[in-house]
Symmetry: C2
Subunit: 231 residues, 2 copies
């Protein structure tokens, strides 16, 4: 006799079984190339090239590329092709507009605030420090993303987690436009540490304010960098 609880538990695992059509795997592969920076912002992705590179048919490739367009990782121009997204000033401003509402709110009011949630933050902070000590600034960027993902994780909302994933993927494209990312990550190691400490002390309001300050500072720095970037 199987218990109802056991069946419900199995039901939640269904997503793991079902996964993985070819189109999804193609999308995953291309997304990986983009967020890791091996495909530069603005670069073109001819369908035929993706077909031969991954040995799948053009229809499947189109399905995968459409998904990445919906994720804002790529942009499609009709009859011209798909390109790696190249976020402009407005995009950066808007991403931070969204983050500035979501992240502090998750810290202040998130339902999933718990010892485990804060522990995930601490892990990301340590990951960042370790990467900085090793001089791997790309890894520091990844750790930073884990930190902010963990912040939003305090809300306990899969939908917000997913949305945050899109915003952070877009941020990676922003950083890939920058000549040197160290200046964008180094100042925030200490800030992450401070935010984490406030949360460990249980002061969610102060932590939320610190996150707001953090985001304002990061946006200002990025906009300055954009001024120096294109004309």
């Amino acid at each position: 006799m199987t218990s109802v609880d056991a069946l419900a538990s199995l039901g939640r695992a269904r997503a793991l079984v079902a996964r993985s059509t070819t189109a999804e795997r193609v999308a995953d592969a291309v997304r990986e190339e983009v967020v890791e920076g091996r495909l530069r912002p603005g670069e073109r992705l001819p369908e035929q090239d993706v077909c031969t590179a991954l040995a799948v048919s053009r229809n499947t490739v189109r399905e995968a590329l459409s998904q990445l367009v919906a994720e804002r990782v790529l942009v499609r121009e009709a009859h011209r092709g798909v390109f790696v997204a190249r976020p402009d000033r407005d995009a950066v401003r808007d991403v931070y507009r969204a983050r500035r509402l979501i992240e502090p709110a998750a810290v202040r009011y998130g339902e999933a605030w718990s010892r485990d949630g804060v522990a995930a933050l601490r892990t990301a902070v340590q990951e960042g420090h370790a990467a900085a000590a090793a001089g791997d600034w790309n890894a520091v960027g990844s750790a930073n993303q884990h930190f902010h993902r963990a912040l939003v994780g305090l809300a306990g909302s899969p939908r917000l987690d997913q949305q945050m994933g899109l915003l952070l993927a877009e941020m990676r494209l922003v950083f890939h436009r920058m000549p040197d990312v160290r200046e964008f990550f180094e100042p925030y190691l200490a800030r992450n540490d401070a935010i984490c400490a406030l949360l460990e002390a249980g002061d969610r309001a102060a932590a939320a304010d610190a996150v707001t300050d953090y985001l304002d500072a990061a946006l200002a720095q990025l906009l300055d960098a954009y001024d120096a970037l294109d004309r």
Copy 2:
């Protein structure tokens, strides 16, 4: 001699020129059917049927359906087909978890708070009252969505607007599972009015708190309805 300003203005209009591939139009058509409730939650959409109904090829249909799956309007089960999404308790809880963070924050801190923004709210409120007077509770639901869309619009963020659009589309599917929607819309006409009045008076903090209360009440009512719904 064309001025630089005029060219920049044209550039901003580019999105209007580029629009409209067949797959997008198919996606729009199917989304419309779902959101308007002519396709019920849980209903199956065989690819072939969509092909013949809209006179497009199966590949194009698949591209459109994939997009709607990404929007959570449809769900795909491998080798079984796509179905109109049928949000369960967890989905409802999570949608409200997200809304409860985003909407009050937009009201409290939104950058686009302005006379025009509040005017859009007032318009939605009046639309709701008019529809209620006419006894058209479906239209009241639409007006309610316009109201919440306008709330998030106060943030002035296209990305948040889009996210809110997805959440509201999911909410329509929730309501389409309900036998009678009047009970879900009627109590909130007065609440919308009150929230709008607070914002017209410039009291954003009180308005944000009222939005939070609103969402908590709506979620509780919906979960009760779900208890009465499935077993």
